[in-house]
């Protein structure tokens, strides 16, 4: 049993310290907005914020994040109206939608650290998040929209 700080509140999670955070979130804590896509840190579908930084939850264990503030897509904004989420809706970004929670978590961490990224910085920051449907053009535009308002 571990206590994790998830989305602003302490939470008892019945998981061993070596369980990847991804599976602890999904299978134990029931927070299924964070997705499994590859299990090896190459697709970004499982991205969460750990102390405000975008991290692949499949590459961290429960033990690694015992003291950390963890934010999942469910806790990004109380009403789901973070400017990145709003920009995503404004541009009708998703196709199947499966990777989008991870994309949004990466984008929101980027803008927290670098509020006005250049296009090159956006493309580089988002390169770890795969979208097999191919929504990249709208994802880039949505990050730009969230950043600059246009």
């Amino acid at each position: 049993m571990a206590t994790l700080k998830i989305n602003g509140a302490p939470r008892e999670v019945d998981a061993s310290p070596d369980m990847p955070l991804l599976w602890a979130l999904r299978d134990v804590a029931g927070l299924v907005g964070t997705k499994y896509g590859c299990g090896v840190g190459l697709c970004g579908a499982c991205t969460v914020h750990v102390n405000g930084k975008a991290e692949r939850s499949c590459m961290l264990t429960v033990g690694d994040v015992a003291e950390a503030e963890i934010t999942t897509i469910e806790g990004l904004h109380p009403t789901g109206d973070h400017r990145v989420q709003a920009a995503w809706r404004e541009l009708n970004v998703p196709q199947c939608g499966f990777c989008q929670a991870g994309q949004i978590m990466t984008a929101s961490a980027l803008l927290a650290e670098n509020p006005k990224p250049s296009d090159e910085e956006i493309l580089e920051a988002m390169a770890g998040n795969v979208c097999r449907c191919g929504c990249y053009q709208r994802i880039t535009a949505a990050v730009r929209l969230a950043s600059t308002g246009s």
Binding site: A15, S16, M19, P20, W23, R26, D27, V28, G30, L31, V32, G33, T34, K35, Y36, G37, C38, G39, V40, L42, C43, A45, T72, I73, E74, L76, G80, Q85, W88, R89, N92, P94, Q95, C96, G97, F98, C99, Q100, A101, I104, I122, L123, E124, M126, A127, G128, N129, V130, C131, R132, C133, G134, C135, Y136, Q137, R138, I139, T140
Partner: protein, 769 residues
């Protein structure tokens, strides 16, 4: 023998710069079926002339009963059933949107619910073949129009006025100063008789609010952006177990022996089960193997890692894809089984001033949807309940019933959102696994495929060698065309392997080759399958467009022409290519569509090509290391051209700009058509530069995004511009999900040739230093 049937155009200028297209004579195309559209009751329903589609002959056909698809609450909430699976194309939005518009429902008061797998009730639900809008736009209008008609009748009775004086608009019926909301009328309206098509006064196109506008958000947008959207792995049941399966590394292999001692010692692992295997042709039966059941996914994965299994490989243990490719290339150079013979090809080649021949190959591909296959099954004494991301829920229902020995009435299939499908989730092997394991453990079981499972146990896109030869006369005109396609067939998943492709595959750009060349031979050489072959978004159109599109650019270079001129010369004057007129077996060469409704119209090919070329500014001069490539292809009865601006940057192939022009008939939801074209650009570029599944000793070499990478945000087609050729409703809506993909890879390869002089004939391809 086939011949080309010249059709007369009523108007000129098929290549108009503003993308408006001269209307072909619909009457001329439809012939006898024109009466179907006009008929004796034309006066009220003439805003919506109907046409036959392949939808009527799909299993369980089309259902257009509003009482099946529409329910309305007393508060006015209109609930519409989405009966097609949503995998990203937008069908869960666009079909209900058509119903809502024709109904005069306010989209903000519409709720969408997903149908269970029940084709006798809803009609065909097999979501593939780019059929959703093509087959269902008519039924959606009929359903919406019926409800609006019933609302009007109910309101007229309520007010004691003639129905003709009642106007139904924006979720209410109106007469004089009076209005009644849909909610107030719902009970009475839905008890009205359902009108016949001819009795319905359909909206004119000018009255559409949502159809053709692209002004609605996708149904699940808010849930997707807040993590609330429910995909296959997101449903839980009390007492649910988690399972992963170790499958035979070679298709048709089986477990010889296994030791589960270490697996069972992993904390959280509860049990281990051997699953029955299958040897192709086994349709969508699971591959078999050893299932590990645990209290969470992580424990199940670790338990599987700890299994010790000795496999028996079976007949495909020798599959080596490199050697196989060499065999296919050799086969392609020999005569194959002739499928289309037109004119005198032998004479054309014998008398040619020049013969140009090249072979184009493609490796296997795996779909790699972002959501790997996953399914939840709960088998109880009462039957089986399933939650899964499946493209064909009714097939899953009947297959599961068969696998469990149950009456299909005892099986329920709930369709979650699909985290991508691309054809993989048409095959329900992963659902059968869940059902078997649930039955074995007596509890609900979620089977999760890891990414490695997904890459190594797909139903793969075929691998192919396509050889094309052209006979060119002394005047530089192409007089003969010979195309031999060699590829293992999808049919081998369903029937004993005869070594040849079947008519659905050969209709994808081989026998329907549209060029205006007098002497044509299309052949199919033999290739036996050594893995499970399945359909992948756009199927055989990918290797065909790759071969034909590259070859046209090679011809242009050989004959000293620019690519656009070469394409236009080969496409020739606007006319209809009609394999059916020469007795090609049935409509399957035409994606199951009646050729009368959906002809092969070369004018449309030329129009989209011109639109894409104009869009990108074809012909402008570019700096060294940059080039523009073109390709155009008809598939799923749509026409898509791609113009790709290719630029080599730091030894990398980049695409700073791409224009895709599509003619999909009437564009029901242009916004989603745009998103599909943007997605096709990315998937086409991934196919061109990355996608390669290879085999050694019968085993797939690749395993994850480590060695099966895809296009990412650091190098995608940066600026994709979609051009939609505008048409009225009477120009039948065609496919959108798949046809964007085929022209992308050849356009990139042709652009690369113009940028660097490097000609690519193997896909995927890389830049040589």
């Amino acid at each position: 023998m086939l011949h080309f049937m010249n059709m007369v155009r009523e108007a000129a200028a098929p290549l108009a710069r503003d993308f408006t297209v001269a209307k072909l004579s619909r009457r001329a195309f439809l012939g006898g079926t024109a009466a179907f559209a006009v008929g004796a009751f034309a006066s009220r329903s003439e805003a919506f002339p109907r046409w036959p589609t392949g939808g009527e002959s799909m299993p369980h056909g089309l259902v257009e009963d509003p009482l099946v698809f529409v329910s309305i609450d007393a508060d006015g909430t209109v609930t519409l059933v989405a009966h097609r699976s949503e995998m990203g194309t937008g069908s869960r939005t666009s079909i209900p949107m058509v119903m809502a518009d024709e109904m005069e429902a306010d989209w903000s008061r519409v709720k969408i619910v997903q149908a269970e797998g029940d084709e006798p009730k809803y009609g065909n639900q097999d979501t593939d073949g780019s059929r959703s809008m093509r087959h269902h736009i008519q039924m959606a209008r009929k359903i919406g129009g019926s409800v609006r008609h019933m609302m009007r009748e109910a309101a007229a009775k309520e007010w004691g006025v003639p129905a003709s004086e009642v106007k139904v608009e924006m979720h209410a019926a109106h007469h004089g100063g009076k209005s009644l909301d849909f909610g107030a009328l719902a009970a009475k309206a839905m008890a009205e008789p359902v009108p016949a098509h001819e009795a319905i006064a359909y909206k004119s196109e000018a009255e559409f609010r949502y159809i053709g506008k692209g002004n609605v958000q996708i149904t699940d947008l808010h849930d997707i952006t807040t993590g609330k959207a429910v995909y296959g792995a997101d449903v839980s049941l009390p007492g649910m177990k988690f399972a992963v399966v170790a499958r035979p590394p070679v298709v048709g292999g089986k477990v010889k022996s296994f030791d589960a001692t270490a697996a069972l010692a992993v904390p959280g692992v509860e049990s281990v089960h051997e699953l029955p295997g299958s040897i192709p042709p086994a349709k969508f039966a699971p591959l078999g193997g050893i299932a590990v059941v645990a209290s969470n996914t992580w424990a199940a994965i670790r338990g599987r890692d700890a299994l010790v299994i000795e496999w028996e490989d079976g007949p495909h243990g020798g599959y080596d894809s490199a050697a196989y490719m060499a065999e296919m290339e050799a086969t392609a150079a020999e005569p194959g089984v002739p499928l289309r013979k037109q004119g005198d090809v032998e004479a054309a080649f014998a008398s040619a001033a020049k013969v140009i021949s090249h072979t184009y190959t493609q490796d296997h591909m795996a779909h790699a949807p972002m959501e790997p296959p996953v399914a939840l099954a709960n088998v109880t004494a009462d039957g089986c309940e399933i939650w899964a991301p499946v493209q064909s829920p009714y097939a899953v229902r009947t297959d599961t019933a068969e696998a469990l020995g149950l009456d299909p009435a005892k099986v329920t299939v709930h369709v979650t959102l699909l985290g991508g499908g691309f054809g993989r989730k048409s095959k329900g092997d992963f659902v059968t696994e869940a059902a078997w394991i649930s039955k074995a453990v007596g509890a609900p079981v979620r089977v999760q495929w890891t990414r490695e499972d997904d890459i190594r146990h797909a139903f793969y896109h075929t691998t192919s060698a396509e050889r094309i030869s052209a006979a060119v006369d002394a005047g530089g005109k192409v007089t003969g065309w010979r195309h031999n396609s060699v590829a293992p067939s999808i049919l081998t998943t369903f029937a004993p392997d005869g070594g040849h492709q079947f008519f659905i595959e050969t209709g994808m750009g081989l026998i329907d080759m549209p060029f205006d060349i007098p002497n044509v031979l299309a052949e199919n050489g033999k290739a036996m399958a050594h893995t499970r072959i399945g359909w992948f978004r756009a199927v055989s159109n990918i290797p065909r467009a790759w071969a034909i599109g590259s070859f046209v650019s090679e011809l242009a270079a050989e004959l000293g022409k620019d690519d656009l001129t070469m394409w236009m010369e080969l496409i020739g004057a606007p006319r209809v290519v009609d394999p059916k007129a020469e007795g090609y077996p049935d409509d399957w060469w035409n994606y199951g569509e009646p050729a009368g409704s959906f002809p092969v119209d070369t004018g449309k090919l030329a129009t989209v090509l011109k639109a894409a070329a104009d869009g990108i500014g074809y012909g402008r001069s570019l700096p060294a290391g940059e080039g523009i490539g073109l390709a155009v292809h008809r598939s799923f009865v749509s026409y898509v051209a791609c113009a790709a601006h290719v630029k080599v940057v730091d030894g990398k192939i980049t695409v700073p700009e791409m224009h895709l022009a599509i003619d999909c008939g009437f564009a029901a939801n242009p916004e989603r058509i745009g998103s599909q074209m943007e997605g096709a650009a990315v998937m086409g570029m991934t196919a061109a530069l990355h996608s390669s599944i290879t085999y050694e000793k019968g085993r797939v070499v690749q395993s994850n995004f480590t060695d099966y990478d895809v296009v990412r945000s650091d190098n995608y087609p940066l600026n994709v511009v979609t051009h939609i050729i505008p048409h009225g409703f009477g120009d039948h809506s065609t496919g959108v999900g798949e046809p964007g993909v085929p022209p992308v890879a050849p356009a990139i390869a042709n652009g690369l040739f113009h940028a660097t002089g490097q000609r690519k004939r193997k896909m995927p391809f890389t830049l040589e230093a």
